[in-house]
Amino acid sequence: MHVAGRIGRRLGVFAISLLGASLLIFLITKALPGDVAQVLLGTDATPESVAELRRELGLDRPLIVQYLSWLGGILVGDFGHSHLSGQPVLALLAPRIAVTSWLVGFGMIGSLIIALPAGMVAALKRRSWPGFAISAAAQVGMAIPVFWGGILLVLVFAVWLRWLPANGYVSLTKDPGQWAAHLVLPVVTLAAVQGAILIRYVRSAFIEVLNEDYYRTARSVGWTPMRALLRHGVRNAAISLVTVLGLQLASVLVGAIVVESVFNLPGLGSMLLSAVAQRDLLVVQGTVMFLVLAVLLISALVDFSYLLIDPRQAAVDSADGGAAS
C-alpha cells in the first residue's frame, strides 16, 4: 500500500533527523576548551571539585558511550538535570510548555487568517493595484523585526490606549479573561509577521491554481473568479501549502521565543534564555534538544496531513479502466 510506505519513509526521515540533530547538539557542547564540568563550576573551582563533577556526570567515559547514554535518556524523557537547582530539565519545562504552545498555536492560526485571504486576493488581482498593494505590504511586514513590532504594539495599546496589559501572563485556569488579554498582543505580533511571510507562498500557490485547467472548467460552468478559487482552489493549494507550514514551524518557534522575551511570558523561550545567562549548560542542552525534537515531530505530523488531503495519495493503482471508455 502506498500510504503505509510513505508514512514509513517519513518516519525514517524523522528518525534520521533526530539522530543527526542530537549528534550536532552533543558535539557542540563537547567542543569546548576545558569541559562541561569546568563551565558549570566556573573559573575559580578547585581541580578536585571539577574532577569530582566530571565523574558524577560521566564525562570520563568514552565519547560514544556518553552520546548513547544521553540519547537513551532523551528517548525515555530524561533531558538532563539543572546543575544549579538539581531539578530534571523536563520538570522545569513542563509548566512552561502550555504558554509557548498557546503562543505558537494561536500565532500560526492567526498567520493563516491573515495570509489566506490576502494571498488569494493578491493572486486574483495580481496585475492590478490591490495585488501590488498586498505584495508590498507583505514585503514591508517581513522586514519588521518581530520584537520591534511587539514593542510598537505595546506602545500603542498598552501605554497610550491602555486597552491591554504590557506584559506578564495569567494562566487559563485562573482567569480566562486575563489569560486572553495577556495573550492578545503577543499573538498578534507573531501572527502579523508570520502572516506577512506566508502571503507570498499563498499567493504563488493560488496563482498556480489559476493556471490549472480545472480552474478554467470551474469558470466555464458559471463560478465567478473568487468563488471558483474558493471551491476548487483552496483544497488544491492546501496541498502545497501544508509542506510550507511544516517548514515555517522553526521560524514560528524562534518568533515565539523572542515574543516571550518582549512580553515577559513564562514560556520555554524565557527559560532557555535565563539558563544561558546562568551558564546552566545542561539545561540549555536539554531545552534545545527538546525544542528541536518538538519541531521535527510536529513537521512530520504536518507532512502526514498532506497524505490525508490529497485523494490521489491513497490510490491503489487503478485497475478500474472500465468498459465504457
Partner: protein, 270 residues
Amino acid sequence: MKKAQLVAGLVLVALVVITAIVAVFWTPFDPIRVVPSQRLLGPGWPHVLGTDGFGIDIASRLMIGARTVLVVGIISVGLASIVGVPLGMLAGQLGGWVDEVVMRSADIVYAFPAILLATLLAAVYGSSTLTAMIAIGVATIPAFARVARAGAKQVMASDFVLAARASGTSRWGVAGRHVLPNIAPLIGVQASVGFAMAILAEAALSYLGLATPRPNPTWGNMLRDSQQFLVTAPLQALWPGLAIALAVLGFNLLGDGLRDYLDPRLREVS
C-alpha cells in the same frame, strides 16, 4: 514596477553601506561614553535623534550599529556560502548517495534556527558578536547548499555540459568552468536574501542578549534598552527598529529585483 524594486533596494542598501563605512572613521558623538547630564533628550540639535538613557547620542549609536550589521552580514553570509556552495555543487553534480547525504544533513541543520545554535554557543563561550556570526552562518548553510544544488543540477542537464564531458573535460573542469559561472547569479540573489535574514537574526539575537554585549551598540540591543523608557521616551524605540526594517527591506528588494532581472536570462541556461 520591477525596476523600481531593484532601484529602491539599491538605494536602501547603499544607505546602510555608506553609513557603515563612515562610522568606521567618524561619528558625531562618542557612541560609548556615558554622559549623565544629557540623558533622554528628545530629537533636536545637536543630537538629531536624541539621547538614550545613558546620555549617549542615538544617531552615533545607530551608525555603529550599521557597521556591526555589515560585518555580521558579510561574515555569516560569507561563511554560509563558502561551506554551502561547494557542498551543494557536489550534491548537484555527483547525485546519488552524495546528494542524499548532503541533503539530509542540510535538512537537519535547517531544523536548527540560528537562535538555538546561538544559545548553545553562548552558554558555552558567552555571548559575543563572534558566536552570533557563527550561529547565523552555520544556520544559513543549508539555504546556500540548496540553491547551489538546484543550479548545479540544471546546468549539468544542459547541452553544453554534455558536450564538455563528451570532449573529455574533467569533473573539476566542468565545475569550475561551467557550473560555477552559471550558478553565480543565483548565489548572488541568495546572498542578498541571506544578508537580509542575517540582519534580522542578529537583531533578534542582540535583543535577547545573545550577541554583542553592551555597551557596544547594535540595533537589537538598542531596542532592548529603549523598552525601559517606553513611557518616558517612546521615540527611542522608533529609530533602531526603523533602521532594521529599512535595511532588511533594502536587501530583500535587492534580492528580489536581481532575481526578476536574472529570470529571463536564467532560462537561457537550461
